[in-house]
Symmetry: C2
Subunit: 323 residues, 2 copies
């Protein structure tokens, strides 16, 4: 990048760099490092995510939505840890400096930054195939971070809201199908702007025994908690919350498949002693109990008769362009 281009890019991102000034960020963009100060008694939570064009989002993605999604996906890891939002860095690799694209992307990024309370504190811009790496920072009191490792037999298995909407939206994202606005609008919103569940994550501090955000698909991610905690989980298929729009858009089997194995939900999945359920639901009404933690290992899915209907587990497949 030439110096003039750097300056241009810096101007586009000025808004996101000013979001929520002063709170925990003592030096922002423009020096060798940013300086972050978590509140006294708190630790810094850090997570990094890369999104590559053609792998994690389609070519020619709308830049404003891409900006929102990139930050939402990264920030979701903070929410899952019970961390309060602080700031983020953006490493942006661009094939060319296109002012319209940058303006829209930066505006989308700023929208999500303001809505989450995350401030852009630094970054790097380079020329190359389109790719974004975001590193997000939050703060959490020492000892209160929600890891994957504390689930105990007897806990409830819960999710933060409906499942499968983002995976179900893929044919719309790819332009392979269309739908009326009442269906397409909510599904596309789930895909492009999944709101990080910060309110829920903060409410779970001191209550949930394990948590993560669903990015690989419900069954795979519940498997991560089960493995890290050394427990088993029983998920009841009839309790899975599927949105009306997903049911209207997909046949029942495909909607279920999206909920169980589709990635990109970015809802929290967590384990909770039953005595905390009422308090958590009062703060986040979308929370649903979907199963129980048991002694043992592995995740099994049961139907209404209690029969094991667990599908063969598959690893998460990144989004790929169809040939």
């Amino acid at each position: 990048m030439a110096l003039g281009e750097f300056e241009l890019i810096r101007r586009f991102f000025a808004a996101a760099a000013c979001a929520r000034p002063g709170s925990g960020v003592t030096l922002g963009i423009g020096d060798d490092c940013a300086l972050l100060a978590p509140p006294a008694g708190e630790q810094l939570a850090v997570s990094t995510d890369t999104l590559v064009e053609g792998v994690h989002f389609p070519r020619n993605a709308p830049p404003a939505r891409l900006g929102q999604r990139a930050l939402a996906v990264a920030a979701s890891d903070l929410a899952a840890m019970g961390a309060a939002p602080l700031g983020f860095t953006l490493a942006l690799t661009l094939p060319e400096v296109n002012a319209n694209w940058l303006q829209d992307f930066a505006q989308g990024l700023d929208t999500m930054a303001q809505s989450c309370g995350l401030r852009l504190v630094g970054g790097d811009t380079t020329r190359g195939p389109l790719s974004l790496t975001l590193t997000v920072f939050g703060s959490v009191p020492v000892g209160q971070a929600l890891t994957r490792a504390g689930a105990r037999p007897g806990d409830l298995v819960c999710v933060g809201g409906t499942l499968g909407d983002a995976a179900g939206a893929l044919p719309l994202v790819l332009g392979e199908r269309s739908a009326n606005e009442a269906v397409a609008g909510p599904l596309l919103s789930h895909y492009w702007t999944p709101p990080p569940q910060f309110t829920l994550g903060l409410a779970l501090r001191g209550k949930a025994t394990a948590a993560l955000d669903i990015s690989d698909g419900l069954l795979a991610d519940c498997g991560h908690i089960a493995t890290a905690s050394g427990v088993a989980m029983r998920i009841e298929q009839s309790r899975l919350p599927l949105s009306d729009t997903l049911r209207a858009f997909l046949p029942a089997a495909a909607a279920l498949e999206a909920a169980l194995s589709g990635g990109d939900d970015y809802r929290l999945a967590f384990t909770l002693p039953a005595e905390h359920l009422a308090a958590v639901v009062s703060l986040e009404p979308g929370v649903r109990v979907i199963g129980q933690v048991l002694a043992g290992e592995g995740v099994c899915l049961v139907d209404e008769q209690g029969l094991d209907v667990t599908p063969g587990q598959r690893g998460y497949q990144h989004f790929r362009e169809r040939p």
Copy 2:
């Protein structure tokens, strides 16, 4: 990436994830976030750098050296801030999973991680054109970070060691020229494994008035300090420290050009009240005084007669493949 590939990659990076366990890193790889705890009274310093194949390093770069260089370049920003090393995240985008390449890259990364005292705390691996984004973390006592903004008229302008070696090495890196080992060895080392100047950065706490690491070239980077501090700088050409190997490899004018405008030195440049010079040199004997801070603006280069010989300033050009 398929799940088996994730596991493979995780194994390769296990060593770097164990470097210096326990010091400031309370939760490392494997959960939604890493948890970092800077010492009481200290802030967290954060910097992000992206390296793209064909832009910042040549195609088919030796992976062990690339691993060392990627971390060194990123860590240098911490040193320039006066921060003590803590940890880093690696976002690695790979066109394919090549076990030999990954093993060598991870070994190089681990070598630099151990040598700097930086621990790998998290990351992301995706498929795409080869690109690395490293976000590095350090800690610095509140109020002691070395920014670019404090230089005062009367301060000395200093650098942490010889200049131009990495830029001078480019024809060797690209295979366009060769040289005997006594010349090629040190120059290639400067390019591939520039040691982050942590000892110097820590020594400058409470002494230097401004600092940065030279990545864009001496004159451009001195310009950054001058602008941020609202001062001018006078650099004496005869005082620029050029290595014997650089002089042996390049004609005098080209060696000077590499020292003035070549990027990638990753030496610290800093401004220092004269009373602190002896203490700093005793800790880092390679430090050289190259000029003075003056009232005014801009950076000028003078020859031994005091005549202005400032070349036209140019922005940093990323490394590019020759056609």
